[in-house]
Every structure is written in C-alpha cells, then in structure tokens.
C-alpha cells in the first residue's frame, strides 16, 4: 500500500495501491458469498470506530468488515462518551490507543482531523471514514469497485480480469453539491488515478471556490453532459453543511441539477448511476430513477464491506511493501 501506515486520502494509495485494494477486495467479495462469511485473518486485533459525526452505512460497514475478519470491534458513541464532558480529540485518541487498539476508524466534521490523529498515534493505524468536506476514501474505492463489477458482469468476465484497464477513458460525471462533498474529492482522485475523465456538473455556488489543480472539466449544462457519461455519480445536497443557502430553492435545484426521470432518459443505454447514500429522493434523484436497474446504490452498500475488509486487511496484515523481509515460501 505504497508504504503508508494509514489511509487518510485516496492519494496515499496511488494508482497501484488502488488496483491492489480492488484486487484484494475481490477476494473478500468471495468470502462474503460463502455460507459462513467469516475468516480468522485479524483474530486478536482490535478495531475502534470513532464517529464524531452521524453515519449509518459507513459505520455499520466498517464494523461488519472488521467482524468478518474476526477482529474485535469497539465503537465509541461520541454522544455518550467523555467527549461530551469536554475531553479533547487528542485525549480521546490517546485514551483509545492506551487500550492497545490496532486501528482507529475516524469520522469527524472537521477536515484534517484524521491527519492529526495519525500524527498522535504511535502504533495504531488510522482510517479516514470521512472528514468534513475533505475526503472519504473508502467510499470512492467502493464506487470504483462497484463500477468495475458492473462492467465485468456485462462483459461476462471476472472483475479481476478487467484489472484497472476498464477505467481508462471512462467518462465520469459527478453531479451536485461538490463544494461540500468529501465523496466528490475522493472520487476525483480515485477515478483520475485510474485513468478516467472526470467532469463536474453543479451550480457555480456549489462548486469549490477554486478548482485549481483539479484534473477535471466543469459542465454548466447537465442535460448536455448526461448523454456522454458512462458513470453518473450523484451527490446529496448537504443540508447539514448549510447547502440550502447556496441554492435559491430545493425545487429550483431539482429542476436544474436533479436526476429527474426526464433527464435520466437522456442517459446512454449503458450508463451507470451511483450515489454514496443517503439518497434524498425527490431532490438530487427522482424516486423512479433511484429504483432503475442502472442505479447501483444497493450494490455499492454491499460492496462497501468487501472493500473495507480489504483496507483493514492490507493495513493490519502488515502488507507494506519494503517493510518486510523476503519470505520463506512454504
């Protein structure tokens, strides 16, 4: 994993690292199809989830992943913890580490919180499960994994056979609240690292203040952009981050930037629609469109576990190129 001890950003992985995660995740997807979907790989390891922000699927997904690897899982419910008494993030993390925890999975409303935690911990591995507007690397990885799975299924081959070649030249359109979306940032990094072309479609007020250095194009007309897209990644309007004040009204936002049934008809026959969830039906996606076969939201959630198993396995299994001795082969 490019020698990185933590997964804080998709850029920690690089193209080869992403390819490796997808490959290993494929092996865990097989484990998940078994009648006993559990392996003893991380027996004796302790994984803690520290969620300073609400979450349903990410937290459940990480905890399921850790349990299927036979790790012990501790979850800190921030609302009932000493954080409420005023304990700082640093003290909380040091307390957790003092208990001998091997991996800390952290979600925080402040961008960069996982980076700080990574600097404080001495031996634990840190996984970013979403920090503010910044990044959500495992979501982007599972999106790539899902897209490849769909492409492989259509071709009737195993996803591994496609490698990462199937992303070369793939046209990905990211639609919606890019400004407040950590998923969008991680997706841009992941998809472009794999060779895809990324276009952002959003009202000006919901684009980041500066796109300097972003390897993306910007579409101002969603209708025109939809026809060219192989993958449409929809984002939720992040009301809790004040997105509401960036658009005149929800109705107007939906009329111009929502994937309505009428708009969905413009999509190419093979276009795939992804959404990191939670979906707000009727705003960024029409209910009918959310239920189309091309919309792979449930598949994304299912794949989240396999991808997170791969991340935990790669970090905790000691697979850090360059750090291990040449193995004696049995």
């Amino acid at each position: 994993m490019s020698g990185s001890r933590h997964l804080l950003s998709v850029s920690d992985l690089g193209t080869d690292g992403i390819a490796e995660v997808l490959r290993v995740a494929e092996a865990f997807a097989e484990v998940e199809r078994r009648s006993v979907p559990k392996v003893p790989t991380l027996r004796g390891k302790v994984v803690a989830t520290l969620f300073f922000e609400e979450s349903t699927r990410t937290r459940l997904s990480f905890e399921t992943a850790a349990k299927r690897l036979s790790a012990d899982v501790l979850s800190l419910a921030v609302a009932t913890s000493s954080v409420k008494k005023g304990e700082s993030l640093r003290d909380t993390v040091e307390t957790v580490e003092a208990m001998g925890i091997d991996a800390v999975i952290i979600r925080h409303s402040s961008a960069g919180a996982p980076h700080l935690v990574a600097r404080w911990v001495e031996r634990a591995h840190v996984v970013n499960a979403g920090d503010g507007w910044h990044e959500h690397p495992t979501q982007a990885l599972l999106d790539c994994f899902t897209v490849r799975q769909v492409l492989a299924e259509r071709k009737g081959v195993a996803p591994d056979e496609l490698g990462i070649g199937c992303f070369e030249g793939l046209r990905v359109l990211i639609v919606g609240d890019v400004r407040h979306s950590r998923v969008a940032r991680s997706e841009v990094l992941a998809y472009t690292a794999l060779g895809a072309h990324v276009t952002l479609a959003a009202p000006g007020s919901l684009l980041p203040p500066s796109l300097e250095g972003w390897p993306v194009e910007v579409a101002t007309d969603l209708d025109a952009a939809l026809g060219d897209a192989d993958v449409v990644s929809l984002l939720r309007l992040q009301a809790e981050r004040g997105s509401g004040s960036f658009v005149p009204t929800l109705r107007e936002y939906t009329a111009r930037w929502g994937l309505t049934a009428r708009r969905a008809a413009r999509l190419g026959e093979d276009a795939i629609v992804t959404h990191p969830g939670p979906m707000v039906r009727g705003v960024e996606i029409a209910s009918d469109v959310a239920d189309l076969p091309r919309t792979v939201v449930t598949q994304q959630v299912a794949n989240g576990v396999a991808v997170r198993m791969a991340i935990l396995f790669l970090l905790l299994g000691g697979e850090l190129p360059g750090t291990a001795e040449v193995p004696a082969v049995a």
């Binding site: 790989t41 299994g317 697979e319 291990a324």
Partner: protein
C-alpha cells in the same frame, strides 16, 4: 533453464534460478497417474472424492489429477475446487500475505472425502491454514493430502497421503513445480 518469476514472492519480487531438474514433465504425469490410482484404491472409487487444489501451484495439478481420475474411474462427475488460504495463515503481520487467486469450492463438503492437492509440501503451515479454511465449507468426512514434492522441514505434525516424490532439500533451496517438470534452485533478488 530460463529464469522464472515466482508469483508467490509478490510484491517483493525475486527470480527463481533453477539448478537441476528433479522430475521431467513426463515423470510428473506418471506420478499423478500413480497418485490417482492410490486415491481410487484407498477410497474404494472416486464417488465421494472432491479434489481441492491450493492456489496457486496446486490448482493445475488438481485439474490434471481430476482428468486422470475420471479416466480411471470411468465417471464424468468429479468435483474440483480451488482454495486460497491467505486469510487463514498464521503469519499474517509477520510477512506479506496476499490472496493470489480465487477460492472456488463448488459443492458442500459435508460427508465428502476432500483430497487437498498442492505442488510442494514444506513447513506444513499452508496445509494447516487449508484445513482451517475447509471447515468453513462444511464438515468433510475425511481430508487427505496429495503433493507432488515433499521436501521435508516440517514445522507442524502434518504428513501427506499421496506423494509424487520425496525430495531432501536444504531449507534455503526452492522447489519449483511447473509445466516443464520439477526443478530445484534458489530464489535470487531481482
């Protein structure tokens, strides 16, 4: 003898340099035929037998053995699977352990006789991991072990039931079983 990349040395790489040939491709085929006969003899036929090749070296051997077994036993039905034991190893965290290839056990193993097939038996740790992994696919009536080469140096109380060749080796040597037979050599840095 050409140098060969060893897939299981990934991601560190390394090149297998062959020093001498131990078995030719024909020898390997003969050994497989004999081992197949032994499987049939010992189990009174091949009806309940499921061959499970260990990734990656055991899988092609299991395929060939299945072919031979079908001829000997005159049956078309013979289940063959493959197993990657990466997730069951006891050295996770000590050395890079990565899944190499697919696990595919096509049938419920409950009540069947599983013959694990691998290319080289060395420390026995891979087999220990495989025994654990098999448990997750049902309670086999019996598990037997077939290896093309037993090179010694066991670290666990494991012994093969069917052996292609017993080959005394030094620990640092490597044994390579491929299309062109069995070679003994060393692993050199790239």
């Amino acid at each position: 003898m050409a140098e060969r990349e060893r897939s299981h040395t990934r991601p560190l790489g390394g090149v297998f340099v062959a020093h001498s040939q131990v078995l030719t491709a024909t020898d390997v085929q003969r050994a497989l035929t004999r081992m197949s006969h032994e499987v049939v003899e010992r189990n009174g036929g091949a009806d309940d037998v499921v061959l499970v090749g260990l990734q990656t070296g055991g899988v092609p051997l299991a395929m060939k053995m299945a072919e031979t077994l079908r001829q000997i036993d005159g049956t078309q039905r013979l289940d063959v699977g493959s197993l990657d034991v990466a997730f069951y190893r006891d050295d996770i965290g000590l050395r890079p352990v990565l899944p190499e290839a697919v696990t595919d056990i096509p049938v419920d193993l409950a009540g069947r006789v599983v013959v694990l097939v691998d290319d080289v038996l060395f420390t026995g740790r891979t087999i220990r991991a495989a025994l654990n992994a098999l448990n997750d696919f049902g309670r086999a009536r019996a598990v037997q072990l077939a290896v093309m080469v037993d090179r010694g140096h066991r670290e666990l109380p494991i012994r093969p039931d069917y052996v292609g060749k017993n080959l005394p080796t030094r620990r640092e040597e490597m044994v390579d079983v491929g299309e062109d037979g069995v070679w003994i050599g060393t692993l050199e840095d790239k």
